[in-house]
């Protein structure tokens, strides 16, 4: 690419800002939907923004050590890293991010990275619920990475590339070229893994509101929490954009991106409002059985 580096950085910042706003709006809308399902009115959809301003506006803060500082930083680095290597809108200079150099493996690494950093930070806070939350989170993450990785392998075999841009390009020209139609089994496995990633019910074992009220972030407050809330917006949207790119043909303009990511998010929201929570062992067993087998079958079908 011949775009100068400084301009690229500027574009990245704009693109990051847009995705943060979109991710937080999505979170607000989802809270509203949950409320309507429960027969409530629910908070306004801009509530996450006010919450973030308030958390950053706290006057005092307590640190529990260096990793406690770094935990939220790793977390948001994971979110930003994931997003910056995914082309959000294909063909746009501002929103294509640094995708040329990025491939799916790097993005998968970044998805893992934030959680691991967070685990270290939460571990140092010393709260017993943090430790329980971290243990559950890492266990579940390891489980849903299996079907996710298998379906990525299926994609790699199908498109003979790991470059996200190339994968999107292969899906252009009519919606029947989207992976969801050319390789439905891999898509289903990955979408089930997405349910785990988004941590709505039935896979909300990490935060488990009924037993360990908050999970890993229990001790985080003030700007630490603010960073994590910001990341919740970025990371959420980044995952959705990734899934849109891999399975739903990417987006050529911002409206397509908004509609598609919203629709993909609704999958986990609808599942979330309609199911109660799994126990940890059930959730792990589930990820290692149904979606993993589906993804394996899709790989076998591609090979033979």
């Amino acid at each position: 690419m011949d775009t100068p580096l400084l301009l690229k950085i500027l574009y990245a910042i704009i693109s990051l800002g847009v995705i943060t706003i979109w991710g937080l709006t999505l979170n607000g809308v989802v809270r509203k939907i949950y409320a309507r399902v429960q027969g409530r009115i629910g908070p306004p959809f801009w509530q996450p923004f006010i919450d973030i301003i308030k958390t950053y506006g706290k006057r005092t803060a307590v640190a529990h050590g260096i990793m406690f500082f770094l935990g939220p930083v790793f977390r948001i680095a994971g979110g930003i890293g994931t997003y910056l290597f995914i082309p959000a809108i294909i063909g746009s200079t501002v929103f294509s991010n640094f995708s040329v150099s990025g491939d799916v493996l790097l993005v998968m690494y970044f998805i893992f990275f934030g959680q691991l950093g967070m685990a270290l930070g939460a571990g140092e806070s010393g709260h017993p619920y943090s430790a329980i939350g971290v243990a559950r989170g890492l266990a579940q993450m390891t489980a849903f990475e299996v079907p996710f990785a298998l379906s990525i392998i299926a994609l790699a075999i199908q498109y003979k590339t790991l470059n996200i841009t190339a994968i999107i390009m292969a899906q252009q020209g009519g919606f029947l070229n989207w992976t969801i139609f050319t390789n439905p089994l891999a898509t289903i496995a990955a979408l089930i893994a997405l349910l785990g990633m988004n941590m709505h019910n039935p896979f909300s074992v990490v935060l488990a509101p009924q037993e360990i009220p908050i999970g890993p972030p229990t001790e985080f407050h003030g700007s630490y929490l603010g960073l994590m809330q910001t990341n919740r917006g970025i990371f959420n949207a980044a995952k959705l954009v990734l899934f849109m790119n891999l399975f739903f043909g990417g987006a050529t303009n911002i409206f397509a991106m908004i509609i598609k990511t919203f629709a993909i998010y609704m999958i986990s929201v609808i599942v979330g409002v309609s199911f109660p929570r799994f126990r940890v062992d059930q959730s792990i067993k589930f990820f290692l059985s149904v979606p993993a087998v589906i993804a394996l079958i899709s790989i076998i079908l591609l090979i033979i």
Partner: protein, 206 residues
């Protein structure tokens, strides 16, 4: 203002434990000036995260507050089960001497600015336990209170009204009780220690 660096002695802790706890004296943090503080106060008022401390029967009214009928979420209020992340501390009923220790601890762990809502007669003036040997009569001798909601027990409407009052006070910049607590720290500590006999925690649970 003169900066004095008093340190807390943690005298009620055994020697070998004193090292584990912070001995720095809590510091006041003054509000910012002008527009920024007004903006932050607006945000604080619109996003009240509640730590419900169910000390007595009055706290039962906090549940209907959250569910479909009264739905406090529409005002931007949300329950938060950890003191670190909350800003409104609701003491829901009589506070026995045993619970007072936990109340003080939770209150001090909330990060400033923090607000306290005292719920029900027992919290405010002892209520029907006014002459009991094991409950305290006035919560505001031990931690500062921003808003009182009277009644035995107050209906969720009353709690919402109290929280709306609190929002008003926050927006006017009058909810600075967290700093008052630090200013009168010694008085509050003396009161607390008078009541809590087996004091086995640091002087300030930062």
């Amino acid at each position: 203002m003169k900066k004095e660096h008093k340190s807390l002695l943690n005298t009620d802790l055994p020697d070998f434990e004193r090292d584990y706890f912070c001995d720095t004296y809590p510091q006041e943090v003054k509000p910012l000036k002008g527009f920024i503080e007004k903006f932050l106060n607006w945000a604080r008022a619109q996003s009240l995260w509640i730590l419900g401390f169910g000390t007595g029967c009055g706290a039962i009214e906090l549940r209907p507050l959250m569910t479909a009928r009264f739905d406090m979420f529409r005002y931007g209020m949300a329950p938060r089960p950890t003191p670190r992340q909350s800003c409104v501390f609701i003491i829901g009923g009589y506070a026995s001497i045993k619970t007072l220790k936990r109340i003080v601890r939770s209150y001090e762990q909330i990060q400033a600015p923090k607000f306290v809502l005292a719920l029900g007669s027992c919290t405010i003036n002892g209520g029907m336990y006014f002459d009991s040997y094991n409950t305290i009569n006035r919560i505001d001798h031990y931690i500062p209170v921003d808003v009182y909601v009277t009644g035995c027990m107050p209906r969720p409407e009353a709690i919402i009204a109290g929280l709306r009052k609190l929002q008003e006070r926050i927006m006017q910049g009058k909810a600075e009780k967290a700093n008052d607590y630090i200013k009168n720290f010694e008085w509050y500590k003396a009161n607390q220690k008078k009541i809590i006999k087996d004091w086995n925690m640091p002087d300030f649970n930062w």
